[in-house]
Subunit: 413 residues, 4 copies
């Protein structure tokens, strides 16, 4: 009933999932803890995810704890067909393949919704938006949604403001273990790894422009700084701009940065961050990449329109020749740098996020119907439980406050 | 009417204040903007502050904008007598001198309250607590308090919980421009500068234990890491502990850290962080210092009791000989490392905080009576105004969202 | 006459070479400068190199400047068949294919020597050693050898000591532009890039053991430190050990490090750095990789012998199960981490080395017969010429000493 | 017979020396090892040194090992009168006081030479140059000289070239334990510490221009980078310039840098690095400091001449008003930043250098008459002995090569 590339690819998918399992102590621990009681029995979990080994591991953990699981890919370029095949072999329904068209993408999301999920894991909010647009009769079946991304949370809030929500949407992205870790360390490292792999260029001494000094932007900027790049930050928020300055970065408007930068990485969550007014001022051979959410931060539409020639010059890199004779290289067609060109986030980072997702699904199932129908945060208990499991797995123990110290913190004299 | 060490010291104090004025563009700009209209006319501002050149500059700015200003020192060791002298010469009342006793300290705070201030700037909440204890008849005259420190804000919240507040207390410390800048960059650098100056020891390769990975702790830890120290973090919060781990630090309980560390810097806001159970396990020659608020993070009381010998071995450093024969060096008797041993925070950092304090006082004066009588945050408008003044002074301009981009951020489809 | 995998792969090879050409300003400049006069006319250059796009670019530059060029691969795993194909298409003779056996490897080197080269570029000294062993009748035709690696230079010196040399061997590896740049920045970044790509693991917070604090080791260690790993250094030289300590690293013997490390990267130039006595003490799941020269730094022979099970668990990664039940992961079978698993050094780094190689070949051709028959350094003139070309390409200009300053430096009063 | 400020200051000097003794394990170990046999018996050691606690500790170690010791200060601003007093009290002859005039400085050096030293420790080569100029009849008594600084070694080489040497001059400065540690870590940290202490300014985000990327310059630059300053490097050597670029610094000519920098630190060993042509282009309020050798790197003579006003605005800082209205701040009148304004190098760094000096004096005494009369290097044996003593004191043990590994390194097949 699944729609994937080829079931026979499963063996390579299995190997990939076994590899990541070695480095996912949090999900492993949760699975062990809850599989005996089959806590997700009789529940269907719909997942719209970057379909690769780590998310697959989460899907399997849900399944091993009793859930029926249905998956679609959240990005046509991030789906790994062998991983999808192994999931299907293990009894999970999957509707995704690498390079699916926009139409197929939407049809695949529809397939997930047709299975009438009780719980949704979303990555960008496409699945939930589709539910509102075409499957609103299913709303009452939903305990809640766990949304993974900043962009998705923004969209959830906009939807709430516009139409109201019919179930809680948990902003997994706003949990500390997500935004402090996934965005900062995960995207930070994987964007750089992907840049290196895709270009074979040196980072030392190269001038990077990072657009946006939010968690993603600062993760990337700090890792680049650690590798001795020259880093320029563009921002719209004066306070973040000042932080960037104090953190040792050059801060300037994009208008000036375009003339200087060798490489541009967008991480704003906004669109047209590098838009038409800037393309002509780029240096010949400038490289553009996006580490935000969609392929709109770089205005690809306009770039396609104004370019007089386009060709693939290396896997995942296209060269655009502009009317002024300059060439611009774009990695992964402006889609997510760290996903499209590589294996995505480092394994241990996703282990944290997915530990959160696991407990969020459990919490929504147990308490979702009582919760307010708004965008809500991950409860602190869940965060602490995950952090402790992770520290344990690292063999790290920490201090605890004495009763006397607790008391001291609460007194005012 | 003031009580200071010696009015004749003013000339040296003047020079110090002129020096800092060179590097305080934010306060300078605000003073220029509001002195013509004398906005603080007929208001009395009571300040309990580390009395040195930078706070003095703020006090003068208030005065130049029309206020009557009365100051006490917030720490017996941080008052600079020459600076106090110049303030008095310029018409500000001051009750403070270096090395004043605890009794004098309290009496000096009383003198400030006797002037019946309308606005209070507090640093640790001692002045406000004293108001509640002994001068509660003055409460109705107060528009509000600006509290500078984490510890002070904690005490304000405890007081609120316990007795209720009679005027708003603005948690200046919780403003982004304070906790992101002062705690992190300011204390980070000045604690290190003070360590270097007081010990003449090398940081490269030395093992530092930083207790607490809050804003102050991480500021210090990151600066030490940048100077290539080996840094161990102790924490009670699992999430912060995990961040410290991911930021490249060793994380362990204090019980283990005491056996390894060469230097200990406490930054928890709690007390007895290095207490009796740990002193005996320290290495011979271990150095202890505190960058939190009071001299209680290191349990000095107990250390004094158990030591068999104590002597000053260098300015600001005491050696304690323990019964087990080991020696422990304590900088500045466990008081604030960056203040007691040096000139305190770097000038530009205080300029940001004091810009905030300036506008907070203006805001409390204009709106304090309508505000809820609780601990409140600095309004975002104030933060943005200060950040912009600072960026301007650095010659940095930044991007602004286009209407189209603003719209994009608010849509959900 | 070439022996390669498949000539039809050329198109992809061409694209790769075009890509690197964009980022090789030094070789491009030299080619432009010397192609008109065809300076290498009538000379045959034998190259034993990692056969990928960047070395191919150098080979083409020689050809475009008049030389006859014959190439073999210096490592069976680093040859890229499409690149080899394009070289052949452009008229260069190539004897190499990916995965060639040891016997084929030697036979291919023999083919190069049969073309009776006048100039040799060697990478590990295998080609020159073979010349001494089997083709010594060709020695008189050789103007000289440019040797690229530390290991090769060591072998050249040992050969000189043992038998004497019959022509100069230029220690390209000992040029500043090589050991300060290639080893440090090049291997530093590419080893990390390869680790990330091959494992999909996080670097932040992970414990790496880097064996050897020479230029390669410190390059890797500093980049890992910049990415916030915890780094342990093992060394045999007390001075380097002390430097590592002062640079913020933990220093300990391998005996202790094996018990703590998550990942081990050898960079000593020696063999059995991780040998039998250590395998059993490794943590379960430890990852081993080599960034030195041959696959002997990790004692793979012994590991193969003692392991009770071996399987490939991910591309380029083998899992060995030890008798004590622990698993050890080895990247690229202990061969060069940065080459075997990726595209090798960043392009710009090789551009510097290859600029040196270009001018060294020119210098040997013009002056080789007069030079002493020993291991000699790259002349300072060559180094400065290359550095200036590179700075120019970056748009960087620098200061020059005034005559007065030059004079000051030379006076002693 | 000594000429110092005041013998009664000794008690404070004693305390300072006791403090540094806690952190000088290398000199302590050497003293213990050689005091019993009184190895320097009947020898006179003349020292021209920065007369503060650490050098005093070395002088005492010589004395405790039997030598007669005579000291002068190497810099009128670095002599500490209390330390000098304690040395005299302990039986060492001292000719130095803080703030001595140039004439007194020379007369004091003469006093040292009049004692007819057999061994000389020099810091800048002034003492030895004076010997050649006025005391050449003493040359035959000299076993040799240990010269501490880069500048001094340059002068020694110039003297050798010009007139020849009559005894060996050991370039202590060229020993690895000196130039890799003292220049890089020592000056790096102490220059920054001194900047912080003298200005109370923030380093984060500030633009520093470091002139010279030798060991001193890169030490300072890297520490500033670690503290998140923006750092510009000026250089005359293209290879060093390229290294600086790859290490993440901006590289440009001084001509451009003067317009951008907030703070300038010279570290070139040359003169007029910031000369007349640059003063007018500095920003208003620019701060100048020197971490090279003499007060000639900044052309103070010219600055004094062109300034229309000069006043001390803070201890150790003078403000010069230029005809164009701009103000320039100079720290310590252009003398050595880290010495004049603070306690000089961190203790442990000097311990390494002084361990070298100790063994060099022993070596010159035992072998000096047989050694070539040129500038010679510290023998590797001495370096290794000191490094091992230091590692031992840190509790660090390292690996040793197996015989099999040694053999491997020497073979070429």
């Amino acid at each position: 009933m699944s729609r994937i590339r080829d079931i026979n690819l499963w063996e390579s998918g299995k190997k990939k999932i076994e590899w990541v399992k070695n480095f996912m102590p949090v999900v492993n621990t949760l699975e062990s803890k809850y599989s005996f009681s089959q806590i997700f029995k009789d529940k269907t979990i719909g997942m719209c995810i970057h379909l690769e080994a780590k998310t697959a591991r989460l899907a399997l953990a849900f399944k091993n704890c009793g859930a029926k699981v249905v998956c679609a890919g959240s990005n046509p370029l991030s789906t790994q067909d062998d991983v999808a095949a192994y999931l299907v072999k293990e009894g999970i329904e999957v509707f995704a393949w690498r390079g699916e068209s926009s139409e197929d993408y939407e049809r695949n999301l529809e397939e997930v919704l047709k299975k009438e999920p009780n719980l949704i894991i979303d990555d960008g909010f496409d699945l939930t938006v589709l539910l509102y647009k075409k499957f609103s009769y299913l709303k009452h079946k939903i305990f809640g949604v766990g949304e993974e991304t900043t962009t998705g949370v923004k969209r959830a809030k906009a939807l709430l403001k516009d139409r109201g929500l019919d179930f809680p949407v948990v902003a997994v992205n706003d949990s500390k273990l997500k935004f402090l870790f996934d965005n900062r360390y995960g995207t930070g490292e994987s964007a750089i790894s992907s840049f290196m792999r895709n270009t074979n260029l040196l980072i030392s001494g190269r001038t990077f422009v990072v657009a946006g000094y939010g968690w993603v932007g600062r993760g990337i900027a700090q890792k680049l700084q650690g590798l001795k790049a020259k880093v320029i930050i563009t921002e719209v928020d004066p306070i973040k701009a000042l932080e960037a300055h104090m953190d040792g970065f050059s801060v300037m408007p994009m208008k000036e940065a375009v003339k200087i930068g060798d490489v541009f990485i967008t991480a704003t969550g906004n669109f047209k961050v590098i838009g038409e007014e800037y393309f002509y001022d780029l240096k010949d051979g400038a490289i553009l990449a996006n580490a935000g959410h969609f392929n709109v931060e770089i205005d690809m539409e306009t770039l396609e329109k104004i370019a007089i020639e386009k060709r693939e010059v290396r896997d995942n890199i296209h060269e655009y020749k502009l009317p002024n004779g300059k060439r611009v290289f774009v990695i992964a067609e402006g889609r997510l740098l760290n996903l499209a060109g590589g294996d995505g986030h480092p394994i241990e980072i996703m282990d944290l996020s997915f530990g959160i997702q696991f407990l969020v699904m459990k919490w929504l199932m147990e308490r979702g119907k009582e919760l307010p129908k708004v965008v809500i945060s991950v409860s602190e208990d869940i965060e602490l439980e995950i952090a402790k499991i992770k520290l344990d797995s690292l063999g790290i123990s920490i201090d605890t406050l004495t009763p006397e110290q607790l008391n001291y913190l609460q007194s005012w004299e």
